[in-house]
Amino acid sequence: MSDHDTRSRMPERAFFALTIAAVAVPLLVLLFLLVIVTRSGLTRLGWDFVTSYPSRHADHAGILPGLVGSLWLMGLTALIALPLGVGAAIHLEEYGKQSRLSRLIEINIANLAGVPSIVYGLLGLGLFVRTLHMGRSVLAGACTLALLVLPMVVMVSREALRTVPMSLREAAYALGATRWQTIRQVVLPQAYPGILTGAILALARAIGETAPLVVVGALTYITFVPDGVDAPFTALPIQIFNWVSRPQRAFVVNAAAGIVVLLATMLVLNGAAIYLRNRLQKKRA
C-alpha cells in the first residue's frame, strides 16, 4: 500500500520540482543580471546621473535626455496603442465575431505580432516620418512603437473579453440593455484587469526597443529634452548602446548605471499598471 503511495506521488513530486525550477531559473538569471549590473554601475548611480546630459567625460555624463525621451515615448505609445488596440479587440470580439473577415483579420494580427521590429521601423520611416511629414520626432517614434505593440494589445484584449462569461451578456440583454450598454457596463469592467495586463506587456516590450527607433531617427547625442510631440529625441536603450560601444571603460560603467535606470523605469511603469489593475479588481468584487 505504502509502496503504491510513493509510486503515485513520484510524478507529482517530480512535476512540483520542475515547476519550482521553471520559476527559479528565470528569477535567478534576472537576479544575476541585476546584481552584476548594479554592482558595476553603482559608482555612477545617483541624482546627478539621472539629471545630467551626455558628455564626453564619462564621469559627468548623465542619462536625462534618454530617460525623458523614453517616458515621452511610453506615454504617447500608450495613448495611441491602447485605445486603438482595445477598440479593435471590442469590434472583433463583440461585433464581428462570426464573419470570415474577422477570422482573416485574426490570423493576420497573430502574424503581425511576429514581424521583426526593424520592419516596423522601416514602416514608421516611410509612413510617419516621410508620408505624414512628422519628421524625426518623438511622435513618429511613438506612432511606430504603437504599431509595433498593437497586435499584442489586440490579442491580449480579445483574450480578456473572451473570459467574460456569455451568461453575463445574456443577463444584460434580458434586462433590456442594448449592445453598447452591455459592452460598456458589463463586459468591459470585467475585462479591464486582463486588458491592463496586456498594456503592461506591450509597454515593457516598447521600452526596450532600439532598432525601430534608430531607423525612425532617434538621436544619440542631444542636450535638451523634448518640449512637444514634434521635438527630436533619444531613448534609454540607444544611450546605453552608445556607451557600451565606446572604447573607454568608464563608459561601460555608465552603461551599467543606465541599465539600472531602464529597469527601474520599467518597474515603476509596471507597478503603476499593476496597482491600477488591483484597484479595478477590488472595485469589481
Binding site: 504617447l76 547625442y221 527630436p232 572604447p247
Partner: protein, 369 residues
C-alpha cells in the same frame, strides 16, 4: 461601478481617442531638423560674422543637426559639448553610419554628416541630383590597428602583402592557418575578427589592403561593436583582428598590436607600430585614415552652422585627442578652415578611385591651393 465613474471612464476614453487621432494625423509640416532652406550662398559666404538681420529670428535656439559615422561620433560629441558652452545653438547628433549619414545629408535632413571614409561617387551623385552641395573637411586621423592575443609569440610584425594574403576574397576557405600566411609561423588555425561590412572602417581596410573597396573574404567574425571584437581577440590565442586604434589604447593589457610593414621605405623603414606619432607623421601606412565632416553648403550660410564648423577647425585639436583620435597637423586645420571659408565644394579625398591611400591630409589640401 456606479454611473458617475462610468461617465468619467467614458470621458477619459473619448479623450484618449481624440488625442491619439490628433497625434497621428494632423501635424504641422515644419521640420526642425531640416537644413536651412537652400539660400543661394555666394562663393565666399560662410564666415563667422553673426548676421542677426539675415537669419530669421527663432524663439527657440537653432538646432544644428549632425548624423553619420559612429567612428566620428565621439569627436562630434566632444566638439558639440564645448561649442554649446559658448553658444546658444543646440547640436543634435545621430549615429546611422557613414552611408546612412550621407543618405540623410543628401535628403537635406541634416546640416553636417560625419564620415569615416570619403564620400563615394554614387553618394556624391545622389547629392548632386538633390542639388545639395557639400564642403568636405578633414578633421582627424584614425589608425586601424592589427591586433593579436597577448600570448601570441610569433606575429611580431606583418607585411601588407601578408595581410592581403589573409584577407583577400580568394583566401576564403583556403588560408586557414597561420603557416599559410608566413612560413615559419605555427601550423595552427587563424581566427579572424573585423568590423561589419556596413562600416566605413571595413571599406577603408579593404581598399588599403585588398586594393578594392568592400571586397574581402567573408568567413571572419564580424561585429558592429568594436568592444565585441576586443573581447573576441582577447579570449582567443589564435585570433587576429583589426579595428580603431582607440580600442587598442584602452585595452593594452588584453591585446597585442602588430607593427605593419608596407614595403615602402620612403615612409619609414620596416614594420611600424600604430601610435599617435606614427599615424600623425604619416609613417604608419597604409592603415591611417582621415576622418571627415561634410557640411551642407546651404546650411553653412546659417551663422550657427558656420560658427560650429569654424569652432571645429580652430578648437578641434585638443578635443580630437580627448576623444582618443589623432589630431591633424596644425597646418591641415588652417588649410581646411580656408577651404571652408572659401566654400569649396566637392571631394578631394574620395572621387572616382575611392579613398586616397597613403597621402597626408595637408599634402592633399595644399595641392588644391
Amino acid at each position: 461601478m456606479n454611473d458617475k465613474t462610468m461617465t468619467t471612464t467614458r470621458f477619459a476614453a473619448a479623450l484618449l481617442l481624440s488625442v491619439a487621432g490628433y497625434a497621428c494625423s494632423s501635424r504641422p509640416a515644419a521640420d526642425s531638423t531640416a537644413a536651412a532652406p537652400a539660400v543661394p550662398a555666394p562663393a565666399s559666404a560662410p564666415t563667422a560674422a553673426p548676421a542677426p538681420a539675415a537669419a530669421p529670428a527663432p524663439s527657440a535656439p537653432a538646432i544644428i543637426a549632425i548624423d553619420g559615422s559612429s567612428t566620428v561620433f565621439p569627436i562630434n560629441e566632444a566638439v558639440a559639448e564645448e561649442f554649446q558652452k559658448a553658444n546658444k545653438a543646440k547640436v543634435t547628433i545621430g549615429v546611422s553610419g557613414t552611408g546612412g549619414g550621407f543618405k540623410k545629408f543628401c535628403a537635406g535632413e541634416i546640416a553636417i554628416a560625419g564620415a569615416s571614409r570619403p564620400v563615394k561617387p554614387s553618394e556624391a551623385e545622389l547629392c548632386a541630383t538633390a542639388k545639395i552641395e557639400m564642403i568636405e573637411l578633414p578633421i582627424a586621423y584614425d589608425g586601424l590597428a592589427i591586433v593579436v592575443h597577448p600570448s601570441n609569440s610569433w606575429a611580431k610584425s606583418i607585411t601588407v602583402a601578408e595581410l592581403k594574403r589573409l584577407w583577400e576574397p580568394a583566401a576564403q576557405g583556403k588560408v586557414m592557418k597561420w603557416s599559410a600566411v608566413r612560413t615559419g609561423w605555427p601550423d595552427k588555425e587563424v581566427h579572424l575578427f573585423g568590423p561589419g561590412v556596413d562600416s566605413g572602417t571595413y571599406d577603408y581596410f579593404t581598399k588599403a589592403i585588398n586594393g578594392e573597396e568592400h571586397k574581402s573574404r567573408g568567413d571572419y567574425t564580424s561585429s558592429e561593436d568594436d568592444n565585441v571584437l576586443v573581447q573576441g581577440v582577447s579570449r582567443d590565442p589564435l585570433a587576429l583582428g583589426f579595428f580603431g586604434l582607440a580600442y587598442v589604447t584602452e585595452n593594452r593589457d588584453k591585446l597585442k598590436p602588430v607593427p605593419v610593414d608596407d614595403g615602402d621605405d620612403k615612409n619609414g623603414k620596416g614594420p611600424i607600430a600604430a601610435s599617435q606619432t606614427t599615424v600623425r607623421d604619416g609613417t604608419y601606412q597604409p592603415l591611417s585614415r582621415p576622418l571627415f565632416i561634410y557640411v551642407n553648403k546651404a546650411a553653412a550660410s546659417r551663422p550657427e552652422v558656420a560658427a560650429f564648423a569654424e569652432f571645429y577647425l580652430t578648437k578641434g585639436e585638443k578635443l580630437v585627442n580627448d576623444a582618443h583620435y589623432i589630431a591633424l597637423p596644425a597646418k591641415a586645420y588652417e588649410l581646411a578652415l580656408a577651404r571652408f571659408k572659401k566654400g569649396t565644394t566637392g571631394s578631394l579625398f574620395g572621387g572616382a578611385g575611392g579613398s586616397q591611400i597613403g597621402v597626408t591630409v595637408e599634402a592633399l589640401l595644399a595641392r588644391e591651393q
